[in-house]
Amino acid sequence: VDAVASDADYLARSLSEPTAFEPIFDRHFGAVHRYLHRRAGRDLADELTAETFALAFSRRGSCRASGSVLPWLYGIATNLLHRHRRAERRQLHAYSRSGVDRWVAYEDEADARVDGSSLDARLAGALAAMRPRERDALLLYALADLSYEEVALALDVPVGTVRTWLHRARATAQRELAAADVDGCLLATTGVDLNG
């Protein structure tokens, strides 16, 4: 019986009965943590995920989601990341220059070396070059797999704004990745054809 209740049901119920918030945590902890992990590294992800849910609980009365609350949770997580914007940008820069990602602990060491790490380094460079809100919109779209509408909900802006940000993010990515191609070496080592 309980399995069919939607996030919004739980959320509405949690207003009068706070413990009804628990299933929301159980459902979405993994997804939020993975998103934060990819943006901020494991240590910070542990902390920010905990904070995301504590904050979501205290703000549960203001959530407008009608189905899944995941976009809303991603929005809170993304706002929490803002305190660490500079650190994220520094880290992306360092990653793009060195090809070594200090923030992500890979499950398999071999993955880190073989699996597209240099493409990741170039993507890191492109992300570092974006404006913060463009980067947020892009990563909510790409990492969190949200639709444009859901990104708009998460960031609390009109969907047209999301389109604009993603358009700019795309332009920045094209420019930065093309610049990396000119270097040549990265493309040669990864064998990834960016035009394909």
Binding site: V1, S16, P18, A20, E22, H33, A54, A105, Y106, A142
Partner: protein
């Protein structure tokens, strides 16, 4: 290929979150919940818990309502349909069985303002005992089963009332302008303890401004005479339990002498407290700071026992799980409890000796199993489980064997 989609693979190799991260985050949420829920939850008094097993069904009904499940409980169905329309499950206390087992009183919100109802134990003949547009809640049977105390807002602020079991002869015991709530009979039926609340507000970091009541403990004779305050200091906790001998009242963080001769302040705030059947010991739950937790206020719940005078407290459980809902066996030798590693996680029922030795998981089940309640002969334990897909009352032998649903055969 769209450049944006390239980013889908960015740092694709991240590890799945560690169990430890999840546990810490869940503890953090639990502490946020505690602040909000704790004050409400403490109101769930032990009233009627020993009247087994029917009370276990009642507990299952309330637990089921809490999840808006529709437990098919026979009489529970009826009860549930009567209760529907409630505003908050927290305002609905467990239905209480009369001592002779023939009548159940409960609170219904079907007309939107809270009424005390009674019905026969087979679910028939529901009747509205209060019949008033104001809120009437928290019915409590007198020990002799002849009277029912309740809290009513018919005079604007909440007052303690007593009526005959058929709803006649209502009288106000607390004519004043304060908010009086949570009436609880002394074991001898001569007095009623209750809480008088004063509205407060506080700014809790991370939660914003919250509104709550500070409560003082009062006692009044059942005829309305002899009203007096028993506590020197108020607390926001609402727990109120008479000792079996009627001499002590556990309230918030105090053990208060019922004759008004004094109160002993406990060095910590128990989350729940349960007297042993002989009245000499108290099992209680305490939230310990969890240092491994990220944030400031992690809590790890453990079960303790202390002497009835508050001395000699001893920790019985040592683990990182949330242990709670302790229940003494009738001979006082064992304590059953529920335990879960994460908030909202899989609860299991354990039993241990009253000195904390010999812990054993009785349920070992992927479903939620909680709220143990011993049969009067101590040979069986009733509990609540969702193993059949809904919250429902179950029973097992005290060694964990022979687990079965209590209600499915009764239909």
């Amino acid at each position: 290929m769209d450049e944006l989609d390239l980013f889908r693979n960015f740092r694709r190799g991240v590890a799945t979150p560690s169990a430890d991260a999840q546990r810490r985050a869940s503890a953090r949420l639990a502490s946020a919940l505690d602040v909000v829920v704790g004050r409400e939850k403490a109101a769930r008094l032990r009233q009627g818990r020993r009247r087994w097993p029917l009370v276990a069904i009642a507990v299952a009904i309330v637990a089921g309502m809490a999840l808006l499940a529709t437990p098919a409980l026979g009489i529970g169905d009826r009860l549930l349909s009567l209760i529907q329309g409630k505003r908050s499950p927290l305002d609905v206390q467990a239905p209480a069985w009369s001592r002779d087992g023939r009548t159940i009183v409960f609170v219904s919100w079907r007309d939107g303002n809270g009424e005390v109802y009674a019905m026969d134990a087979d679910g028939s003949a529901p009747r509205n005992l209060t019949q008033h547009p104001a809120k009437d809640v928290r019915p409590a049977w007198s020990p002799d089963g002849r009277s029912i105390a309740f809290a009513s807002s018919r005079d604007r602020q909440s007052e303690i009332y007593v009526m005959n079991a058929d709803g006649s002869g209502k009288r106000n015991l607390t004519r004043d302008r304060a908010n009086d709530d949570y009436p609880t009979w002394s074991p001898d039926g001569r007095r009623i303890a209750f809480l008088r609340g004063y509205p407060k507000r506080a700014n809790v970091p991370g939660l914003g401004v919250i509104h709550y009541y500070d409560y003082h403990l009062y006692v009044v004779n059942a005829d309305g005479s002899g009203l007096r305050r028993l506590t020197p200091n108020p607390t926001w906790r609402k727990q109120l339990v008479w000792s079996p001998d009627g001499r002590t009242i556990y309230f918030g963080r105090y053990l208060v002498s019922a004759d008004g001769s004094g109160a002993r302040r406990l060095p910590y705030i128990p989350l729940t407290a349960v007297w042993s059947p002989d009245g000499r010991r108290i099992a209680f739950v305490r939230g310990l700071p969890d240092r491994s937790q990220v944030g400031p206020v992690g809590r790890n719940h453990e079960i303790y026992v202390m002497n009835a005078d508050g001395s000699g407290s001893r920790r019985l459980t040592h683990n990182r799980a949330y242990d709670g809902e302790p229940a003494w066996s009738p001979d006082g030798r064992k304590i059953a409890f529920q335990s879960t590693k994460t908030i909202g996680g899989n609860k299991e029922i354990y039993v241990m000796n009253a000195d904390g030795s010999g812990k054993r998981n009785l349920t070992r089940n992927p479903a939620m199993d909680g709220r143990p309640s011993w049969s009067p002969d101590g040979r069986r334990i009733a509990f609540v489980s969702d193993r059949d897909g809904r919250l429902d009352a179950h029973v097992m032998n005290a060694d964990g064997s022979g687990q079965r649903s209590l209600t499915s055969q009764e239909r």
